[in-house]
């Protein structure tokens, strides 16, 4: 009887640990062109237009349509509707251009690799490109 109880408790503990780990699973990476010097804490500012330069280089943020929802939720902390509204206001008042949108990870990686100042995000691991942070 006791053994069975301990077994069940053990199972529960394993499940809880797995659930806890699952909450901390990294969904994606913020990547940038080799020329970009940027801290992880500044990523949100870049994607809401509050940071436009890094070390004298103009930043070129780019959205990833396939991974946008998760990125906006975890990093920018707004939903897609508010993100669009934010950029409409930003563009109208400050003359900034909203990030271009790419179709998926491969497009974002190709763009970031070849565009000085570019910063984007991908849903998985991206080899051969500078990683600014993980989310």
């Amino acid at each position: 009887m006791k053994t069975r109880l301990f077994k069940n408790l053990g199972r529960v503990a394993v499940l809880l640990a797995a659930a806890s780990l699952a909450q901390h699973v990294v969904a994606g990476e913020v990547i940038a062109h080799a020329s970009v010097e940027l801290g992880a804490a500044e990523v949100r500012d870049v994607f809401v237009g509050d940071k436009v330069l890094a070390g004298g280089t103009k930043l070129v943020p780019v959205d990833n349509a396939a991974a946008q929802a998760e990125f906006l939720s975890k990093v920018v902390q707004v939903d897609a509707v508010k993100y669009t509204a934010l950029w409409t206001k930003k563009s109208f008042r400050e003359g900034l251009t909203a990030p271009a949108s790419k179709g998926g990870d491969a497009e974002v990686i190709a763009f970031v690799k070849s565009t000085p100042g570019a910063i984007g995000y991908v849903s998985g691991h991206s080899a051969g490109v500078k990683v600014i942070s993980k989310y």
Binding site: V52, K58, G95
Partner: protein
């Protein structure tokens, strides 16, 4: 032997894929930005189909070559063929590189707002709403000219109360980004007073109400403060531990009053007294995120001018005030206060006046009902106000609802009641122009969109 014959397909496959990709991406280069998404999807589908075909052909080629050589040794690769392959691979790589670089150059995106509407108002309303109206088409561009140079160009096409169509160069400003904390603009811009003027302006779909508060309306539509300026504008923001400080300082042509309308002098200014202004705000972090509080002010000498360009009154305009905004948790609160301490340049007499509005809205799903109060108390001895047709004390209560059809379009309804005080104003030549007290009601609908 067998292994030798198998080397041909692996060499041909990437080459064929590369050539196909090059051909496809080459064909897509001139595509316009808006069409790129659809084209890329179509190209991907074609690429997928073609790759399958290539694999089938490669397999067949493999079989044919095996039969042809009869298992003979293929020997060393042909040098000429290898060089050609290398050249082609280099070309493919260059095309890919070129495509990547061009993909962010989407031309010059045109943004804008459009609104149409209709309404009804009682007899004394200067807007005279009686049916449908074409509203405003506002187009703006934000071309960037390099690492730090940017611009904002805005054109507005709108119907006047008389039914005529007017084309206005709303904004033409060139900016230089010194750093993340400071941008210098030069040209024609929206005067950075309060929050409303720079946040919404002609962007009807951005604002919850149909109409702007009257006293900050456009100069030719009843506003008696300069909504536009032409000059130099320093604008920026900087972060602190507790929030963000925003700041604006500008020097612009000094406005004048002609034909009873404020003229912000878009082309030239023969007065040595330029307009100076500032706006400093604070946006706290944490539990108060979404709140903006600030102070603002501007001053200039403003001449009231007759049709023959002679001056019949001159006023030293001095405005200081404060504002508040809150945009979070589905609440939208806006309030602006303007305190005028104007001086008659001929007599030295000081005249105090004030104007304010407060608007509160709360979003429930797609609906945002709102209510707004406006009030002005203007000195009847102040030529800055009495020279302007709309320079009268008034009170207005407006309420309405905005229904968001989607993130980029909305339907609005607004009802308002306005009371204006009796006052003796000045006509276009400085003569007395008595105005009797009046009141009017207005009901308006608006269908607006952003693009």
């Amino acid at each position: 032997m067998t292994s030798t014959t198998r080397t041909a397909p692996p060499l041909l496959k990437p080459l064929a894929r590369g050539l196909l990709l090059a051909a496809l991406v080459g064909a897509s280069l001139p595509a316009m930005a808006d069409e790129q998404g659809d084209r890329i999807k179509a190209l991907e589908a074609r690429l997928e189909t073609s790759l399958k075909l290539i694999e089938q052909l490669s397999a067949r080629l493999n079989t044919v070559e095996q039969g042809k050589t009869g298992g003979a040794v293929a020997g060393a690769p042909n040098t000429e063929q290898a060089q050609a392959l290398a050249a082609l691979q280099a070309n493919v790589a260059q095309l890919n590189e070129s495509l990547s670089k061009q993909s962010h150059d989407t031309g010059l995106p045109v943004h804008g707002f459009a609104d149409v509407g209709g309404g009804w108002s009682s007899g004394k309303d200067p807007v005279k709403l009686r049916g449908f109206n074409g509203g405003t088409l506002d187009l703006y561009l934000t071309p960037q000219f390099g690492q730090r140079v940017k611009s904002l160009i805005e054109l507005a096409v709108e119907y006047g109360v008389d039914g005529g169509v007017a084309l206005d160069m709303e904004r033409l400003q060139l900016g230089y980004t010194i750093n993340d904390d400071l941008t210098v603009w030069m040209g024609r811009f929206h005067t950075p007073m309060g929050l409303w003027n720079t946040s919404f302006h002609h962007g009807a779909n951005l604002q919850t109400s149909v109409f702007r508060p009257r006293f900050i309306d456009f100069e030719d539509k009843g506003g008696f403060v300069p909504a536009h300026s032409v000059g130099v504008w320093f604008s920026g923001k900087t972060g602190t531990d507790s929030g963000r400080v925003t700041y604006d300082v500008f020097v612009a042509n000094g406005p004048s009053i002609k034909d009873r309308t404020l003229d912000f002098r878009g082309f030239t200014d023969n007065s040595p007294n330029k307009m100076l202004g500032f706006n400093v705000g604070f946006q706290p972090k944490g539990s108060l995120a979404g709140l903006t509080v600030g102070v603002h002010g501007f001053g200039s000498q403003v001449d009231s001018i007759k049709a023959d360009d002679s001056v019949f009154a001159s006023t030293k305009l001095q405005m200081t005030g404060a504002y508040l905004g809150y945009d979070a948790d589905d609440w939208e609160i806006l309030g602006e206060y303007y305190r005028f301490s104007n001086t008659d340049q001929a007599t030295g007499a000081k005249n105090g006046s004030n104007a304010w509005f407060g608007q509160v809205g709360k979003t429930f799903g797609s609906f945002t009902p709102f209510v707004r109060f406006e009030s002005t108390s203007l000195s009847t001895a102040d030529a800055y106000f009495t020279s302007q047709e709309s320079g009268r004390s008034y009170k207005r209560t407006a309420l309405g609802v905005r229904y968001a059809l989607d993130p980029k379009s909305s339907l609005k309804l607004e009802l308002s009641n306005t009371r204006e005080n009796a006052v003796t104003q000045l006509d276009a030549d400085g003569g007395a122009a008595p105005f009797a007290a009046t009141s009017y009601r207005r009901a308006a609908i608006q269908y607006s969109a952003a693009f």
